[in-house]
């Protein structure tokens, strides 16, 4: 069902909001070149098909200087290869390479090419990033919606649903995925978009920890089975225990309205 009133979103804005979030690390480059590379990636952000963010390690893409590239390729703990982009004066025997000085057009094309590969590999379950330690941590980290997001971020029915779930209570990526039936990538991309726009805060031990208490436990992923412990995270949304709903009632209302079940249990 189309989301009404979302016509204000331009296709460009909508596609940008849906861009996958990928990460890159940089090793073995002179400080000046590393800084230049990161700056160029940021400048190209409005043109690349994916949103690229730098992180220290465990990234989706390793960017290495040509001296370091001679070393054996790194594999992640699950033995999945991490794509390697070599930068310098001497091309490696194999693999993608960009010559210094960097050219924006060439870098954009390379990022788009490698980004497409990583995304495709993720979809096939092969990418290292999908199993990286950071991502594992992110999946268990809870996200709390600070306010209802801008409509430009809610360009699909699924995103509206994800925001509604988050508005109701904080959730980890995993819980969000279970409650919504959205793909892991879809949830992660949405959370990333919310984070970039400042609509969500994360809790738990990860970066950007805000020290919020955990939300209710155990997680209730089934419709009509609300369990309140009174141990809620600070939240602008309802903080009082929610009124108990008769088991099966919501499913019957859904059925009467011709709505599909929203949870994983159809």
């Amino acid at each position: 069902m189309p989301v009404p009133g979302l016509s204000m979103n331009t296709p460009v804005a909508a596609s940008r909001a849906r861009r996958p979030l990928l990460s890159f690390s940089v090793e073995g480059l002179p400080a000046r070149d590393e800084l230049l590379f990161k700056s160029l990636v940021r400048l190209l952000d409005h043109r690349t098909h994916q949103h690229w963010a730098w992180q220290v390690e465990d990234a989706d893409l390793r960017v290495v200087g040509d001296k370091l590239a001679a070393a054996p390729p790194e594999v992640d703990p699950a033995d999945r290869p991490v794509p390697l982009l070599t930068i310098g004066d001497t091309p490696p025997s194999r693999g993608p390479f960009l010559r210094l000085p960097l050219h924006a057009d060439a870098l954009e094309a390379m990022l788009n090419r490698l980004g497409a590969m990583v995304v495709h590999a993720r979809e096939l379950g092969l990418a290292a990033a999908s199993r990286s330690r950071n991502e594992q941590a992110a999946r268990s980290e809870e996200y709390r919606l600070l306010r209802w997001p801008s409509s430009t971020l809610l360009d699909t029915t699924m995103r509206m649903k994800l925001a509604t779930l988050l508005a109701s209570r904080p959730a980890s990526l995993q819980a969000l995925q279970q409650r919504s039936n959205a793909s892991a990538q879809e949830c992660a991309d949405f959370i990333s978009a919310l984070e970039r726009a400042g609509f969500v805060a994360s809790s738990g031990g990860g970066h950007g920890a805000t020290g919020f208490a955990n939300s209710r436990a155990p997680e209730s992923i089934w419709p009509d089975s609300h369990i309140a412990t009174g141990n809620e995270a600070p939240h602008a949304a309802p903080s009082a225990p929610r009124a108990t709903v008769e088991p099966g009632l919501l499913a019957r209302i859904r059925s009467r309205l011709g709505l599909l079940s929203s949870g994983p249990r159809a």
Partner: protein, 172 residues
Amino acid sequence: MEHKILFTGTMGAGKTTAIAAVSEIPPVRTEVRNNDASVAKATTTVGLDYGELTLDNGERLRLYGTPGQMRFDFMWRILARGALGLVVLVDNSRPDPLADLEVYLDGFAELIEKTACVVAVGRMETHPEPGLEAYSQRMQDKGVLCPVLPANVTDPQQVVQLLDLLLIQLEA
């Protein structure tokens, strides 16, 4: 046991229309006599809309449209008892729709806190200001976090979507 969902909002915001869009009976408009002495017209009446849906086990889901005027807020409290959730309809063509919203967020604060709420803004196509951001901000100021979206309640599908968002919150 009675199951009910409330629709609230100013007069003309579309409560009757929204209920008619999903009710299996034509909405019943119950006239309630105004006993407010401060109002000159003692015979002034206000509307309480009613519609219903029969669920597959024979139970009924009752849909109530509350009186819009604040002087009937005593009825809001009565209607709110045991309600599953609230749909707030705001008419963006009114002089101060954000103030309208506040009236209902305050008047139904307890229900919103305990159940679920959706804010539907009507007539945005002709009156785009205030935008949804302003609504979101005002709701945040009031400590309310719930979906706010434009809606045309003459479209039954959009009314169903509002109810869907309400159910999603209750299921979370």
